[in-house]
C-alpha cells in the first residue's frame, strides 16, 4: 500500500469529479474519521486510516484488498473506475438516468442504453458526462457516460444510444474473477 503520486491523484480526482462533481470533498472529509486513497499494484483503494494502519502488518503480497477498490490505473496511466466504486458513486451522483424495467436486464448484460429504454433522466446533463444508472425502484445498476446531453435526448429517435455502458453490477457474476 502506498500513497498516490501527485499526478495520479490528479487523474483520479478528475475522473471522480465527472461523476460526483464537488462531492469529492465529502469522500475525504468525513465525520467518522480519516479516509484516504491508497494504491497497490495499480489498484486504488479507499479506506479508513484506522484499517490502513492495521493492515500494515500484513505483507503486501498476501494482502488482497482493503476497504473498497475504486478502480485501476491502466498502462497508459489513465484511471478506470470499477463497478466496486458504485457504493460511493451512487449516493453522491449528480447526473442520473433511470431505466425502464424492459431495458434493465439488457443493461445488466453490458449493453448501451438507447432512447427507448430511458425511463427518466436528470436535467442539465452535458455530453460525455459521467452518469449513474438506476432502475425505476432507485436501485443503482451501474454507471456510464452520457452520449447525448439532456436536450439532445429529447429530440433523438428511439434507437440512438443516450448512454454508453461502462460498468454494471452484472459484472459481479459475469466477471467475478477479474473484479479488481
Amino acid at each position: 500500500m502506498k500513497r498516490l503520486s501527485e499526478e495520479r491523484t490528479r487523474i483520479l480526482f478528475e475522473k471522480l469529479s465527472k461523476y460526483i462533481g464537488s462531492n469529492i470533498k465529502l469522500l475525504i472529509e468525513r465525520p467518522d474519521g480519516l479516509y484516504c486513497f491508497r494504491e497497490q499494484k495499480d489498484r486504488v483503494y479507499y479506506v479508513s486510516e484506522k484499517i490502513l494502519k492495521l493492515s500494515s502488518n500484513i505483507p503486501p503480497e498476501q494482502l488482497v484488498s482493503i476497504g473498497t477498490c475504486f478502480g485501476k490505473f491502466t498502462k497508459s496511466n489513465k484511471f478506470r473506475l470499477h463497478i466496486t466504486a458504485l457504493n460511493y458513486l451512487a449516493p453522491y451522483a449528480q447526473c442520473k438516468i433511470w431505466l425502464k424495467p424492459s431495458t434493465e436486464q439488457q443493461f445488466l448484460y453490458g449493453h448501451h442504453i438507447t432512447k427507448s429504454g430511458l425511463g427518466r433522466i436528470s436535467e442539465n446533463i452535458e455530453k460525455y458526462q459521467g452518469v449513474v444508472i438506476y432502475n425505476m425502484q432507485d436501485l443503482p445498476l451501474g454507471f456510464g457516460v452520457a452520449a447525448r446531453s439532456t436536450t439532445e435526448c429529447k429530440l433523438a429517435d428511439p434507437l440512438t444510444a443516450v448512454c454508453f455502458h461502462q460498468a454494471d453490477i452484472g459484472e459481479y457474476i459475469r466477471s467475478e474473477e477479474d473484479l479488481l
Binding site: L54, N57, I83, Y172, L179
Partner: protein, 786 residues
C-alpha cells in the same frame, strides 16, 4: 385538499393478525352425504318421512287388494318379498315365479312370522324406502349388472356386505336368474332395493368392489408376509450379493427389526456383530457410501437415527437467503422478491435476516436485488456460527477461513461496517469470491488476505473475536456434494483434524484475552464426525488457556462428552450439533471458546509443531508409528539442553508426588499428548531418580512404565554403548521391584530389547499410558509451582 400525501407509505403497520391468519373452518359435508358412508339407512327429513308414510299406506292398500284377489296359501310365505315387486314394471312378472320358487326354500328371517307378514313390513325397511322407485333405471344398468354379478359370486362369503348386495341385485329380470339364493337376508331387503337411486346403486356397487379388492390385497400381503416373515440369515457369500435395490432395502428393514429386539428375534447362531456386518454392507450398497464412512456414521448415530440421517442426506435442504442488513431490511427485500414471483417465508424465529425460498420464477442468483447486494444465498446452518460469535460494533474480528465470504459478510453486517474485519483464506481463487461478495454487499471495513491461517498469529494478533469455520470432510453436507460418500478415507479425516487443530490453535493465539468486550473464538465445521469436532476442541482445551462457553443458540443437540473410548471435557455439553434429519439444515457443529489468559502453557511453547505431529503418529495404528516415535525421540535426544534437564528433574520429583492421582485416573482417561516431547536426557535423569526412589517406596504403575519407555527410546537410538549401560541398569532395577505388574513389564522390556521390531499391541498401549501419566504429573507439577 388535492391528492393525499402518503407520508407514511411503506411504514404502514398491519393491525391484528390479518386476513391470512384467519383459518378456514374444516369442511363440513352435508349430512346426507356423510351418512351413506357408514350405513345405507339415512335419516330422512320430515317431508320425506311424510311421503314415505303415504307411500306405505298406498302400498298397504294395494297389498290388501291383491290379497283379496289371490289369497293363496303357497304365496303367503314369501309375500313380503313378492309384493314390492309388483309395483315394478310388468316384464319382471314372468320371472318372478322362478324367483319365488327359490325363495320358498329359505324363508326370510327378518319379516314377521305370523300371518301379518303378508301385509306388514318391518319398520326399518319402511323408513329406508325412497321416493324414487325402480321406474327410473338408467340405460347403462345392464353392463354394470353383469359386472356386479361377478362381484356377487365372489363375495358371497362376506357377511358384512350382504345387505348392500341385496340392494343392488334385483334391478333387472335377467339378472334375477343369477341372483344367489344362498343369501339369507336377501329376501327381507328386496323392497328397499327398488327405492334406491341409480347413482346410489352405482356407488354402493363401487364400494363393494373396492372392499373386495382390499380384501384380496390383504390376503396377498398376508401370503407375502408368511413367505418372509422371519428373517433368514444369509448363509453363503453369494446370498450377500442381492440383485435389486428393493431386496436390499427389504433386508435393511428386516435386520433393523431384528436388531430392535435382538434377544427375541435373533437367529441363535449369529451374533449382533454378524447382523451389523450385513446391515452395513447393505447400507453401503443402498446409499452408495464407502465402507469407512458408513462405519463412522454408524458409530456416531444410533441405528435408527443413522438411517434417518442417511435418508435426509439424500435430499437437498431448502434454499435459504440472508438479507444484507447493510443495504436493506428483510421486509423490503421480501416484498421486492415477491413482486418478482418468488415464494418465500422467514426462516424461523431464531434469525432476523434469514428467508427460505420455496419456489421462484427467476434464478435467485441473478436478480437485480442479488446483484445490488441486498441478499446473499447462504445455508441456514451458516448463520449459526456468526450468531454464536455475536460480534459487537467497533471490534476487531477475524475470519480465518472466510471463502466465499458468506459468514464474514454476515459479521460485517452485524458490526454495521464499523471496526475492522479481517477475512483470510488460503486459496487465492476462492479469495476472489470473497472480494466479489464483500464489494457487492457493501462491506467497507474489511481487510482481505490470502495466506496460510496457521501463520496468522505471526503477523497480527490482538483480535477481539475470531471465527474459524474450518475446512472439513463435509460429512454434514452430503446432499450438496455426493462425492463425499465415496472419496473419504481414514487418512483424509486424519489430515483434516490435524489441520483443524493447528488452525484452532492459531485462531486462539490471535485472540486477545484481555479484550474488554471479547476474547471469544467460535469453531465450526460442516462435518458430523466427532474426530473433527469435539476431539479438536478438546485438544485445544488442553493446549491453551481457553474454556468452553455457551454458544447462545437455543436449539441443536449437545456435543458429545463421551464418544466410544473418548472422554471429552465435561463442558463439551455447551457445544452444539445440528443434523439434517432433526433440524432440516446441513449437518453442522458449533463451539464457542473464551480465552482467559494470553499465556500459552509453557511446556507447549517450544514445540507446538512437534506435538501435533507426535499425536498424529500416536493415532496411526501399525508398526510404522512406533518407528516414527522412536526416530523423533532420537532427534529430540540430540536437541536436548541442560536447562531442560533442570526443569525436568523437577518434574521427576513431581512425579513422585502426584503418582497416586495419575494412577487413579487410570491413564487412558487423562489424555495429555505430550508424551514424546520429553527430552530423553531428562528421562534419563528422571529414570534414575524416580525409579530408584520409587523402588524404595510403594511403587506405582507409572514409574515402572516410565522405565519401560525410556528404555525403548534407547533401544532404538544410535548409541550402542549408552544403551547397554542403561539397559543393564534398568533391568536390574526392574528386577528389584516386588510388584507383580512391574514383573510383567520387565518381561516385556527384555523382549523388546532383543527384538525391537516386534512390538506387541499391549506394549504400545502401556507405553502410551505411561507417557500420558508422566506428562500429566509433570504438568501438575508446573501448575503447582506457579
Amino acid at each position: 385538499m388535492g391528492r393525499k400525501a402518503k407520508f407514511n407509505e411503506g411504514v404502514l403497520v398491519k393491525k391484528g393478525p390479518g386476513r391470512k391468519s384467519k383459518k378456514q373452518k374444516d369442511p363440513s359435508l352435508p349430512r346426507a352425504l356423510k351418512d351413506d358412508e357408514t350405513s345405507p339407512n339415512k335419516k330422512l327429513s320430515r317431508r320425506q318421512k311424510l311421503r314415505a308414510r303415504k307411500r306405505d299406506q298406498q302400498l298397504k292398500k294395494r297389498q290388501e287388494k291383491q290379497k283379496l284377489n289371490t289369497a293363496k296359501a303357497s304365496v303367503q310365505k314369501n309375500a313380503r318379498t313378492h309384493i314390492p315387486k309388483k309395483q315394478f314394471s310388468e316384464e319382471s312378472e314372468s320371472d318372478e315365479d322362478e324367483e319365488l320358487d327359490n325363495n320358498v326354500i329359505r324363508p326370510s328371517t327378518k319379516g314377521f312370522s305370523d300371518d301379518n307378514k303378508l301385509w306388514l313390513t318391518p319398520k326399518i325397511n319402511s323408513k329406508v324406502q325412497h321416493e324414487s322407485s325402480g321406474e327410473d333405471i338408467s340405460e347403462n344398468e345392464d353392463s354394470e349388472d353383469e359386472m356386479e354379478q361377478s362381484v356377487n359370486e365372489e363375495s358371497e362369503a362376506e357377511d358384512s356386505m350382504e345387505i348392500e348386495q341385496d340392494n343392488l341385485s334385483d334391478t333387472d329380470s335377467d339378472q334375477r336368474d343369477e341372483f344367489s339364493p344362498e343369501n339369507d337376508e336377501e329376501e327381507g331387503d328386496n323392497d328397499d332395493n327398488n327405492e334406491l337411486l341409480p347413482i346410489e346403486k352405482q356407488s354402493i356397487r363401487l364400494r363393494k368392489k373396492e372392499a373386495l379388492e382390499k380384501k384380496l390385497a390383504n390376503e396377498e400381503m398376508q401370503l407375502n408376509i408368511a413367505d418372509q416373515e422371519k428373517f433368514v440369515f444369509p448363509s453363503k457369500k453369494e446370498d450377500l450379493e442381492v440383485q435389486s435395490l428393493q431386496e436390499v432395502q427389504q433386508r435393511i428393514r428386516e435386520i433393523m427389526a431384528v436388531l430392535s429386539d435382538f434377544s427375541k428375534l435373533r437367529d441363535g447362531s449369529h451374533s449382533r456383530q454378524d447382523y451389523l456386518k450385513i446391515l452395513k454392507h447393505d447400507l453401503c450398497t443402498y446409499y452408495s457410501y464407502n465402507d469407512f464412512l458408513m462405519e463412522k456414521i454408524l458409530e456416531v448415530f444410533p441405528l435408527s437415527e443413522a438411517l434417518e440421517f442417511l435418508e435426509a442426506s439424500e435430499v437437498q435442504r431448502p434454499l435459504t437467503i440472508r438479507t444484507n442488513s447493510l443495504k436493506t431490511r428483510r421486509r423490503d427485500l421480501a416484498q421486492a422478491l415477491i413482486n418478482r414471483g418468488v415464494n418465500l417465508d422467514p426462516i424461523g424465529k431464531w434469525s432476523k435476516v434469514g428467508l427460505v425460498v420455496y419456489s421462484s420464477q427467476v434464478p435467485m442468483g441473478a436478480t437485480p436485488e442479488y446483484l445490488a447486494g441486498h441478499y446473499i444465498i447462504q445455508g441456514a446452518s451458516s448463520l449459526l456460527p456468526v450468531m454464536a460469535l455475536a460480534p459487537q460494533e467497533n471490534e476487531r474480528v477475524l475470519d480465518l477461513a472466510a471463502a466465499p465470504g458468506g459468514k464474514a459478510s454476515h459479521i460485517a453486517a452485524i458490526m454495521k461496517n464499523t471496526g475492522v474485519l479481517f477475512a483470510n483464506d488460503v486459496n487465492s481463487d476462492r479469495v476472489k469470491a470473497v472480494v466479489g461478495n464483500f464489494h457487492r454487499l457493501g462491506v467497507v471495513n474489511s481487510v482481505i488476505t490470502c495466506m496460510d491461517g496457521r501463520k496468522y498469529p505471526d503477523f497480527i494478533k490482538g483480535f477481539d473475536r475470531v471465527l474459524l469455520d474450518a475446512p472439513c470432510t463435509g460429512t454434514g453436507v452430503v446432499a450438496k456434494d455426493q462425492s463425499v460418500k465415496t472419496s473419504k478415507d481414514e487418512v483424509d479425516i486424519q489430515r483434516c483434524y490435524n489441520l483443524q487443530r493447528e488452525l484452532l490453535l492459531a485462531a486462539i493465539d490471535c485472540v486477545n484475552a484481555n479484550s474488554s468486550t471479547g476474547g471469544y473464538i467460535v469453531y465450526s465445521t460442516c462435518s458430523v464426525l466427532p474426530e473433527e469436532n469435539e476431539w479438536v476442541v478438546d485438544y485445544a482445551l488442553k493446549k491453551r488457556n481457553v474454556k468452553l462457553v455457551s454458544t447462545g443458540l437455543d436449539f441443536g443437540t449437545e456435543g458429545f462428552v463421551n464418544y466410544r473410548h473418548h472422554r471429552f471435557h465435561p463442558t463439551m455439553k455447551s457445544t452444539r450439533r445440528f443434523y439434517p434429519h432433526t433440524h432440516n439444515m446441513d449437518g453442522f457443529f458449533v463451539a464457542k471458546l473464551k480465552k482467559f489468559s494470553n499465556l500459552i502453557p509453557s511446556s507447549d511453547k517450544s514445540k507446538d509443531g512437534e506435538e501435533i505431529e507426535d499425536e498424529a503418529n500416536d493415532i496411526l495404528i501399525g508398526s510404522d508409528s512406533e518407528d516414527n516415535n522412536a526416530e523423533e525421540a532420537n532427534k529430540q535426544n540430540k536437541n536436548s539442553t541442560s536447562s531442560n534437564k533442570k526443569r525436568k528433574r523437577g518434574d521427576g520429583e513431581g512425579n513422585k508426588i502426584v503418582n497416586g492421582i495419575s494412577a487413579i485416573n487410570g491413564g487412558s482417561k487423562v489424555k495429555k499428548h505430550k508424551g514424546l516431547s520429553d527430552k530423553p536426557k531428562n528421562e534419563k535423569v528422571k529414570k534414575g531418580k524416580s525409579q530408584s526412589e520409587g523402588n524404595k517406596t510403594v511403587n506405582s504403575i507409572s514409574d515402572i512404565n516410565g522405565g519401560n519407555k525410556v528404555k525403548k527410546h534407547k533401544g532404538l537410538s544410535d548409541k550402542p554403548k549408552n544403551e547397554k549401560v542403561k539397559k543393564g541398569r534398568g533391568e536390574s532395577e526392574g528386577n528389584k521391584i516386588v510388584n507383580s505388574i512391574s514383573d510383567i513389564n520387565g518381561g516385556h522390556k527384555v523382549k523388546k530389547h532383543k527384538g525391537p521390531a516386534k512390538n506387541t499391541k499391549n506394549e504400545k498401549v502401556k507405553m502410551k499410558n505411561n507417557l500420558k501419566q508422566k506428562k500429566m504429573s509433570k504438568k501438575r507439577n508446573i501448575t503447582q509451582k506457579k
